[in-house]
Amino acid sequence: MSSATTTAAHPQYEGGPFAQLPFGRAGMWWFLSSEICVFGTFMGTYALMRIAAGGWDAERAHLNATIAIMNTIVLVTSSLTIVQAHAAAEAGDREGARRNLLITVLLGCLFLCFKTFEYSREISHGFVPWTSTFWSFYYTMTGLHGLHVIGGIIVNFILFLATYRASWDLVKHRVEYAGLYWHFVDVVWIFLFPLLYLA
């Protein structure tokens, strides 16, 4: 079905300068390309409307940067663990891949826990998505990012379970592709965090 190896292992295909990537990696990059457009649009639109509205400083003061900083640490660390899982899978270290994938999943869940806590605090103070345009953007952008995190956690968890199965060797290349997606989610947060909380 979906092939992991390069065209070198599939001499029946023409290959050529664009075809050096394995299918899954190429496919994932095409998907991420589209996702850059989605998040780029949101972030750019937010920046513009914020400038037009005069900065939204009063509303932004209600955000809790501390939780966001902790979330950043959690997400960046999970990027570290998933790339280590990839390296372990490449090296044939099934235990290492399993361990790192599990930590990645747990860190992802921790991110969601912090986010939920943050949302509940803000909602209890009366800041809901329809309070003002700033809050609309805040909840939409972080919510969409959060949905992507949930998707990533599910995929990583499925891969974690796969380490227990005999077919692991056939699917372990997919850790790299899941890692690409997870790093993308991390990069989005790297831009989202200063955009919303700092600058």
Partner: protein, 103 residues
């Protein structure tokens, strides 16, 4: 193919990212005008580190660079044009006349 032994370890990159996080937060102490640019620059450097060392975007086929660069350019074009409509109050369309409550 994808993960040759990296010249800089993944853990080292993590330390760099944490340092940059601290730097970014520290920029809040600076005056607002310059802080915005510095914080954005810090974010770009962090993203670059993740892209190069974690996603291994280095020496990859040009298609990957295009897939990353073109959407960024497109989003930039869109935002630039939209900025024209939203930023300068004179250019924005006049607000609609107040509506009386309807049935």
């Amino acid at each position: 193919m994808s993960a040759e032994k990296p010249s800089i370890g993944y853990g080292t990159i993590w330390i760099f990212l944490m340092v940059l996080l601290v730097l970014g937060v520290a920029c809040l102490k600076l005056p607002h005008g310059i802080a915005v640019y510095l914080i954005f620059a810090v974010a770009v450097v962090k993203a670059f580190l993740v892209l190069r060392h974690y996603m291994h975007v280095h020496g990859v086929p040009s298609m990957i660079y295009a897939l990353i660069g073109i959407p960024v350019v497109l989003a930039g074009i869109l935002i630039y044009i939209v900025a024209d409509a939203t930023l300068d109050p004179r250019k924005a369309p006049p607000p609609p006349p107040a509506m009386e409550a309807h049935e």
